[in-house]
């Protein structure tokens, strides 16, 4: 199975260096900027996000055609893929909240799963319609809901439920 190489790096926002300058000093500044950008891109803190974006790309490639499961599964559409990618991009890089596992359902929709044990589980479903649904179990408490997702801001309800999954378990 193939992996779409380097696409994950496109989500890391590195500022390009533009200059009309020339000469020895200008070249030196340009080189320094390139080295700084390379170090930024390869920083350890981005590694998990890079890996999960690569995994999403791999699944998109694998599941974007009808019958990808060997039976009659619906394809993952561009809208669903893009929405999932935007949601991952919104994710804060923290040491205590892990990035989710990605599940592609037979209806082509994507579910993100976070769990710390059998009774602390959060599922977030993406349908590619700027609307995400969630289902959670936190000990004996159950939650479910529906949130508008504008593609740029992680809905507060998801953040609250992630805290319940990771901080209270």
């Amino acid at each position: 199975m193939s992996v779409i190489a380097n696409t994950a790096y496109s989500n890391i926002n590195v500022k390009p260096f533009y200059s009309t300058g020339f000469g020895h000093e200008s070249d030196k500044i340009r080189r320094c900027n390139q080295e700084a950008n390379r170090a930024y891109e390869n920083a350890e803190i981005f590694r998990p996000k890079q890996l999960i974006l690569q995994e999403l790309d791999r699944l998109y490639k694998e599941c974007s055609e009808e019958g990808w499961d060997g039976e009659d599964a619906s394809p993952m559409t561009d809208d669903i893929y893009n929405e999932a990618r935007k949601l991952l991009d919104c994710f804060p890089l923290t040491s205590f909240i892990q990035l989710p596992e990605i599940i592609v359902d037979y209806d082509g929709e994507i579910t993100f799963e976070w769990s710390t044990d059998t009774r602390h589980v959060l599922l977030v479903n993406m349908k590619g319609k700027n609307e995400i649904t969630y289902v959670g179990l936190f000990g004996t408490n159950k939650v479910n809901g529906r949130e508008y997702f504008d593609g740029t801001t992680l809905p507060p309800a998801i953040i609250d439920n992630l805290k319940k999954t990771y901080l209270i378990s």
Binding site: D72, I103, D117, T118, L123, N125, V135, L137
Partner: protein, 126 residues
Amino acid sequence: MDKIEPEEKLTRFIFDSSAYRQLANTVKFQAFMPNKNCEVSVFRISDVTDAEIWVIGECEVVPKRGKPIKGRADILTSDIQKHGLSVVPKEPPPKHANIIHWKDTKEANQAIAIELAAAATFVKLE
């Protein structure tokens, strides 16, 4: 076919590593999500030895799935019935049954599948 009693033990064979937590050896919700026909296939194992259970999986399920078994999720019928689901015999193959009467929405079924996974015991194929 005989009725399945609440105290009867069932098993669901697992083929994907995403359906269980490898470090904790616990079952994840995917193991119990219904298929497009709103069914989950299980086998009745109350009067079957552990070795025989794996033989059932190898002979009856592996040929259909075309994948090797990773493990299984054992669960009591009563833990399924308490969520409004039913377990009905569906033979052949022998000892096969389906979990039916799932809800209308994926989210409602995910909520149930999380609970079933929490109630189940994961048995890894050594």
